[in-house]
């Protein structure tokens, strides 16, 4: 199954469950509390996901390692390499 189909399947399952509870499609006679909670769930979940996404990406950007040492080490090694190669006869 492609990822797209997995998502369609998953969203459909959740959608059906939500529809069943919110609109009482199976005539389950659920207590009204269930309907009250289920009805805003899709929006609620989207908002939660949105916040989670922002927080996660924000955190990851903030903690993205800056490799200062690596850059300096590279600069030093470039010098070393150029000197060594010149000695070995490379014409750059």
């Amino acid at each position: 199954m492609t990822k797209l189909l997995e998502w369609v399947f998953g969203v459909s399952l959740i959608g059906i469950a939500w529809g069943l509870v919110t609109f009482d499609l199976l005539d389950l006679q659920l207590p009204p509390r269930y309907k009250e909670v289920a009805w805003p769930m899709p929006i609620y979940l989207l908002v939660v996901f949105g916040c989670y996404s922002l927080a996660t990406v924000g955190y990851r950007v903030a903690t993205f390692n800056d490799c200062e040492d690596a850059a300096q080490e590279l600069q030093a090694q470039i010098k070393q390499a150029k000197d060594d190669l010149k000695k070995k006869g490379l014409k750059m």
Partner: protein, 250 residues
């Protein structure tokens, strides 16, 4: 550490590592990357070869490569140039055809990938018997140098979207510093259809489909060329198009 190095040198070394270096206008960087590769492979004792795949660079990259061949030997530096700039995927295919190693390392020739990580890739691969080992900028002490906030935001944002949509089981999908078992690389390249960043992503996705095992090693990515973020709108759009294609087809 010393005994491990000793073992690597003295044990019957049937493992050989072929480094594929596709180049285009890398006259300045090629000698430096080769020097670093020779240094770290030499110190670690692993058997290797460097295959330079130059796509008809007008700046004389091939001539520099020929000089390097004279200095380091034609068993270590192998030239397989092509007449013009063709894709990365075909460069890999072309390189693999001439690779005598049983492992292939792919990396950028512009010094953003540092050969010092290669022994770590090799050890990681031996540790878990992985089909491929991927360098990651997003885990452990991996990271980047030379990126501004905008670039970091785009990178992390794109990676997040990719993780949510594809759930690929690897933290860095657009990275191109990897070690593959040769036959795994061959299998994957022939199945991949995308270009650019998405090609590297597709390789990982296809690897997952084929139940390949993937190991990760944190790497530092030193961005000297694109320091001021040449990641424009076009590239972002084509990345998203490629991502959605992978989402819908794999």
């Amino acid at each position: 550490m010393a005994s491990r190095r000793g073992n690597a040198k003295t044990q019957l070394q049937s493992d050989k590592y072929s480094v594929l270096l596709p180049t285009y206008n890398e006259r300045e960087n090629l000698p430096l990357i080769v020097w670093l590769l020779v240094k770290y492979f030499g110190e670690s004792g692993y058997n290797y070869e460097i295959i330079v795949i130059d796509d008809g660079s007008p700046d004389g990259t091939l001539q520099i490569a020929e000089q390097l061949q004279k200095i380091y030997g034609s068993d270590k530096i192998i030239l397989r140039p092509r007449a013009q700039k063709l894709g990365l995927g075909t460069a890999y295919i072309h390189g693999i055809k001439h690779a005598t190693g049983n492992f292939v390392i792919i990396m950028d020739a512009d010094l953003s990938h540092h050969p010092k990580f290669i022994p770590q890739f090799i050890e990681k691969q031996k540790e878990g018997g992985y089909d491929l080992v991927s360098g990651t900028r997003y885990r452990g002490d991996g990271g980047v140098y030379g990126w501004d906030l905008r670039r970091k935001l785009i990178s992390r944002g794109a990676n997040f979207v990719t993780q949510v949509l594809l759930r690929p089981g690897a933290s860095d999908l657009t990275g191109s510093f990897r070690l593959y078992k040769k036959e795994v690389l061959e299998k994957l390249v022939e199945r991949c259809v995308s270009k650019g960043y998405v090609f590297q992503m597709e390789m990982i996705v296809r690897a997952r489909q084929l139940d390949c095992t993937i190991g990760e090693v944190p790497i530092s990515f030193v961005d000297r060329v694109y320091g001021e973020s040449k990641l424009g709108g076009n590239e972002i759009v084509s990345f998203l198009k490629g991502l959605l294609t992978l989402f819908a087809t794999t």
